[in-house]
């Protein structure tokens, strides 16, 4: 099984289902186990580069940390639970309940991150959109519209340089430092958006001139199918969730 070869829509659905399932979990062990499995699968079946993955994953420790410490301090145990108080800082109490929930929420964030990295790093955007049309019956007009917009993305930075140069060459120049930056942002936001809109309209016209009507009645150069492997992947991920939950309850 290669994650890259799975149907993108199914892959997306699996990730979504996992996220929803995790939202009902408030103990730390389940997300920890699920996280480990997800990471394992990503590297085993996705052949994702370690460095690429880490660069994107590491920032989530910050959020996770935020969750852990704030929940630990501010959490409000329901009245019918018993808890142990570890320490008291003025009005705040650190309890085992708070710490547990904090860890659970923090790990949940990491889990979400790992799941979505598993998806992003193994999925081709064009194929994903095509699969949304073919499997999820997304209207082609919308899907191709988004795809057309998506291709501007790499151009956005160039666009910024262009606008900057246009101003510079006309003798406009900004002060250095924060003040200059804000001035610059104010001056450039509208031109940048305007040029994006202009490009968008032109692309729409180009699409129509190539005979695009938005009708579903069309053939596909890339045909995407759902196979047994996709089902297997779905069952695997749900199965892992059930096992993680089970293990954490029995311990």
């Amino acid at each position: 099984m290669r994650l890259q070869l799975l149907n993108p829509s199914i892959k997306a659905m699996v990730v979504l289902v996992s996220v929803v399932l995790l939202a009902f979990v408030f103990d730390p062990l389940t997300p920890l186990l699920y996280l480990s499995f997800t990471v394992l699968i990503t590297f085993l079946f996705g052949k994702v580069g370690m460095k690429k993955w880490c660069i994107r994953f590491v920032p989530f420790f910050i959020i996770a940390f935020g969750y852990v410490w704030t929940t630990t301090i501010f959490s409000n145990p329901p009245s019918n639970t018993s808890f142990v108080t570890y320490a008291k800082l003025g009005p705040f109490e650190i309890t085992d309940y708070g710490l547990n929930t904090g860890l659970a929420l923090g790990l949940r964030v990491l889990c979400f991150a790992a799941l979505s990295l598993m998806f992003i790093l193994t999925t081709d955007t064009t194929k994903f959109m095509l699969s949304l049309i073919q499997q999820c019956k997304l209207p082609p007009k919308l899907a191709y519209g988004i795809l057309a917009g998506y291709q501007f993305l790499p151009l956005l930075k160039d666009e910024f340089t262009i606008i900057r140069n246009a101003h510079r060459i006309r003798g406009v120049h900004w002060e250095k430092g924060i003040k200059g930056r804000i001035q610059l942002l104010k001056k450039y936001t509208i031109p940048l958006l305007a040029s994006a809109i202009r490009k968008a309209e032109r692309t729409a016209i180009a699409m129509e001139s190539k005979g695009f009507t938005g009708s579903r009645d069309r053939t596909f150069y890339h045909e995407l199918k759902v196979s047994g492997k996709d089902m297997l992947f779905f069952l695997l991920m749900v199965g892992i969730f059930i096992i993680s939950k089970y293990v954490s309850e029995t311990i």
């Binding site: 064009t126 246009a166 406009v172 180009a206 005979g211 695009f212």
Partner: protein
């Protein structure tokens, strides 16, 4: 009479008029085109040629707003009565602006997109994609991302997309404006060959018509106000309407213009025709050098290199430009000309080497001083625009400098560039040629010591080209230094003091036009250039061993 009834035209335009927001653009025109016929559409910049193309395939008024009246019949049926998308597979258009005709990420997906729309089965698509890419020589780029292609390659891809759908009518809107001379020639020849194989009808809109002349059947001429002035063979048009056409300011074949200067009522269309008559006529040699008043260098580059990622774009550049000199930079598409000029304008930082301005290093120069003394006209005119109306665009520089009498100064230059009527328009809705003129005007109004222009004349008619060159010349006469990138060898020969030839990021020649075109023909060839007409004639003379006389006929 009977014959005409049997042969129904493929496309029939009757009393077509078009206006944008109450402003009339196309005025009551009628013409038709038969299957397999090849039409050339001429007209001054802004006369509504591109707008006509948009009407013909139904984009106006379906996708672009405009009030259209009259009738356009395609294969006997009004075009409005075709279902959406039906016409697009039968009428293919290659648009004027190479950057606004794609909607997918990669080359193959882009071609496939059109084919999917006409519901071609997958196997067929694969075959068509391969075939159309091989037509334009882009086989190797099948999986490439479109954003990494150069302007010329994008133009070719646009052609491949349209060809793959095998249209019955093909409309090309200035497809070669940005191509170097050899690529232009190749493009025209490719179209000619394909047309023979597939027998589609063809409408070519073009200012520089020389390469299309040999295989065009009919020529239509538009006036400035969007009326049809002439419909018939080019030769006949020239014989009967030469002066009218000249007055419109459109380009006519170079050889015809030359022929007119040597003999009355002589309208040659090919070099051979011209040379035959020139046999007995005395011809002056091209000018060898032009005077430059100063000898102090204004700007110098030493050991300058530049790379983007792995790719080295400029290699160890040395060059020097004197004060008051007019320099042309020429070379094939993708040679690095724009990159080089951006660096000279201080908009791109050199990675290695040094640039001197006067006797100071570029990086030691105060940013404000540098920006105030060097002007730059971008290759893509839209990159220049920062204001919301044509007037404000030109007035921007003068307002910053708070000089007097801004309104009349701006109005003057706008009228010189035939833009005054459009002064309240948004720069982005102008025609391609108008955009180009506006971008040049913004810099000419702002008097700078050193002006760099990246292809200032592309997409221009003859009148605009001359006007622009004269304006630059008058400023050069007053001491301005000018540097221009161009693919037009005629203006190089006529105006430039020196030429720099750039090939694959290296300066392979720096000298006078005379030295380049007479003494270095191998460089002309290597750099995808062509000889200016006068030099070609001169060279042909040399080969024939004709006597060279010294009387001057060059105007």
């Amino acid at each position: 009479m009977i014959e005409m009834e049997i042969r129904e035209p493929l496309l029939e335009v009757r009393n077509l008029s078009l206006s944008y927001e109450e402003q009339s653009i196309i005025n009551n025109i009628s013409f038709s085109i038969n299957k397999g016929e090849k039409l050339l559409l001429l007209g001054p910049s802004g006369s509504g040629k591109s707008s006509l193309a948009l009407c013909l395939n139904g984009l106006i008024p379906n996708s672009i707003e405009g009030d259209r009246t009259g009738s356009i019949k395609y294969a006997g049926k009004e075009i409005q009565s075709y279902k959406p998308g039906q016409l697009s597979s039968r009428i293919g258009v290659v648009f004027q602006d190479p950057d606004s005709q794609f909607c997918m990420l990669t080359v193959e997906d882009e071609i496939a997109f059109g084919l999917e729309n006409i519901k071609l089965p997958k196997e067929e698509m694969i075959r068509k994609i391969e075939w159309s890419l091989s037509l334009v020589g882009l086989e190797k780029y099948r999986q490439a991302h479109i954003s990494t292609l150069s302007g010329g390659m994008k133009q070719k891809l646009a052609l491949a997309c349209v060809m793959a759908m095998e249209p019955e009518l093909m409309i090309l809107d200035e497809p070669t404006a940005l191509l170097d001379p050899v690529a232009t020639k190749d493009f025209a020849e490719t179209i000619d060959r394909l047309q023979r194989e597939m027998n589609f009808s063809l409408i070519v809109i073009e200012h520089k018509l020389d390469y299309w002349v040999p295989f065009i059947d009919r020529t239509l001429v538009f006036t400035q106000s969007g009326q049809l002035m002439y419909d018939g063979s080019l030769k006949k048009g020239l014989v009967h309407h030469f002066d009218n056409m000249k007055d419109l300011g459109i380009y006519l074949p170079k050889v015809t213009g030359f022929g007119q200067q040597v003999k009355e009522n002589f309208y040659p269309l090919t070099m051979d025709e011209l040379m035959e008559e020139l046999n007995e006529i005395n011809l002056s040699p091209p000018i060898q050098t032009m005077n430059v008043f100063s000898s102090t260098p204004l700007i110098q580059m030493k050991h300058v290199s530049f790379s983007r990622g792995e790719k080295q774009i400029l290699k160890n550049i040395h060059l020097s430009i004197k004060k008051g000199e007019w320099t042309a930079i020429v070379g094939p598409n993708g040679a690095g000309k724009s990159t080089l000029t951006l660096m000279l304008a201080g908009l791109l930082k050199e990675q290695q080497g040094e640039i001197f301005y006067g006797n100071k290093l570029f990086k030691d120069l105060d940013e404000k001083v540098r920006l105030d003394s060097i002007g730059y006209v971008f290759q893509n005119p839209e990159h220049q625009f920062i204001a919301d109306t044509v007037f404000d665009e030109v007035a921007f520089g003068p307002r910053m400098k708070k000089i007097e009498d801004i309104d009349s100064k701006v109005a003057n230059i706008l009228s010189d560039f035939r833009l005054l009527r459009l002064k309240d328009h948004n720069p982005f809705i102008l025609s391609q040629g108008q955009k180009r003129r506006l971008s040049v005007a913004t810099m000419l109004v702002d008097e700078r010591e050193f002006l760099i222009l990246d292809e200032p004349t592309f997409g221009q008619d003859e009148k605009a080209t001359n006007e622009m060159m004269k304006m630059i010349q008058s400023r050069v006469n007053f001491g301005m230094t000018a540097l221009m990138v161009t693919h037009d060898m005629e203006i190089v020969a006529e105006f430039a003091h020196q030429v720099i030839v750039l090939v694959e990021g290296e300066v392979v020649f720096q000298g006078t036009p005379y030295e380049l075109f007479i003494e270095n023909s191998e460089i002309v060839e290597k750099a995808n250039l062509e000889n200016p007409l006068l030099y070609s004639i001169w060279n042909t003379y040399g080969i024939r061993g004709e006597p060279i006389a010294a009387s001057v006929i060059k105007s």
